[in-house]
């Protein structure tokens, strides 16, 4: 048992030096869960942060992140190595988010049909004004698509091409959505006077 623990430490120390692409190959070819675990450790923060900005609450976002990483494991052989691994992961995370939204929309439609009225639509946007952060106010003026693309660009640092790959949109459309989002933020907030950090 102690030997297993020691072996795991040696293995994870070795995996730390391996790049993403090789870890993916290891995980796909030999079903190496330790290699995939290292990939999760490296990217979980960005994926969770991305989903926390899209989903209603952090707990839901973390559940979605877990689901996204499980989907990613199932689809790992489809990662071609073209573009960054985090870009591909965010694509899976975004698809997972959209699927869960569709499911919950269908669920609320069924509830509405049977006469149930939801007491609270969304956790984030019904909070008291004091509790809402600057970023939440900023995100609230954007549509869901704009929010996802702006977060990918400004929080996750993806290039326009990577965002295009992740969302399935042409690069030109991505650029115009970012432009539109910036314009909305500019008109709603005087961001030049904003003192942040």
């Amino acid at each position: 048992m102690a030997c297993d623990g020691a072996w795991e430490i040696v293995q994870s120390a070795t995996l730390l030096e391996v790049d993403d692409q090789s870890l993916v190959t290891l995980a796909v070819v030999s079903q190496d869960t330790a290699a995939y675990g290292e990939l999760i450790r490296r990217h979980q923060s960005r994926v969770r942060n991305f989903l926390r900005k899209l989903a209603a609450d952090p707990v839901e976002a973390d559940d979605l992140s877990q689901e996204a990483f499980l989907h990613a494991w199932d689809k790992l052989q489809t990662y071609s190595g073209r573009g960054s691994f985090i870009g591909w992961l965010l694509k899976v995370a975004y698809t997972t988010f959209l699927q869960s939204k569709r499911k919950s929309k269908r669920y609320s439609e069924v509830l509405n049909e049977v006469g149930y009225v939801a007491e609270q639509q969304s956790g984030r946007y019904t909070q008291d004004a004091d509790e809402v952060s600057d970023l939440d106010k900023l995100l609230a003026v954007l549509t869901e698509e704009e929010r996802a693309i702006m977060v990918m660009s400004y929080a996750c640092g993806l290039s326009h091409r990577e965002i295009g790959d992740a969302t399935g949109l042409p690069v030109g459309t991505v650029k115009s959505i970012i432009f539109r989002g910036k314009k909305k933020i500019r008109t709603n907030f005087d961001i030049k006077d904003h003192k942040h950090g």
Partner: protein, 129 residues
């Protein structure tokens, strides 16, 4: 060349972009057992998948055992109706010195075994796919 120009243009960020980046920036989230939880979940799923095929074959075999035995009994009864000369194999075909006549239940057993083997191979291939 074109992609290099696109990348350069993307890197030329103005003050507004930098401000947005600082506003969107978030504290890194500590792993806190998150990755371990997912890896454990995946390992469990792999074991379930590995066990699914042998368990399915065992259950299938148990379910199919009784009807298969009944099939053998019925076949041997039906073959008793077939004239004996159709079932006899001449001794010249076989390597043995003495003339051998196969009993009635042996042929259906061979046919059934062959059918079970073929079904097994096809079933395994289908499950693997």
């Amino acid at each position: 060349m074109t992609s290099k120009i696109i990348n350069m243009v993307e890197k030329l960020k103005d003050a507004e972009d930098r401000l947005l980046e600082s506003m969107f920036a978030a504290e890194p989230i500590a792993d806190g057992g998150f990755s371990k939880r997912i890896v454990t979940h995946i390992r469990r799923r792999i074991w379930v998948r590995r066990l699914a095929l042998p368990v399915a074959m065992l259950v299938g075999g148990l379910i199919a055992f009784k009807p298969a035995m009944q099939l053998v009994t019925v076949s041997s009864t039906l073959l008793g109706v077939v004239p004996r000369e159709f079932l006899e194999i001449p001794a010249s075909v076989l390597p043995q010195v003495e003339s051998v006549t196969f009993g009635v239940p042996l042929i259906p057993m061979i046919v059934l075994s062959a059918m079970v083997i073929v079904a097994g191979i096809l079933g395994t291939r289908l499950l693997n796919e």
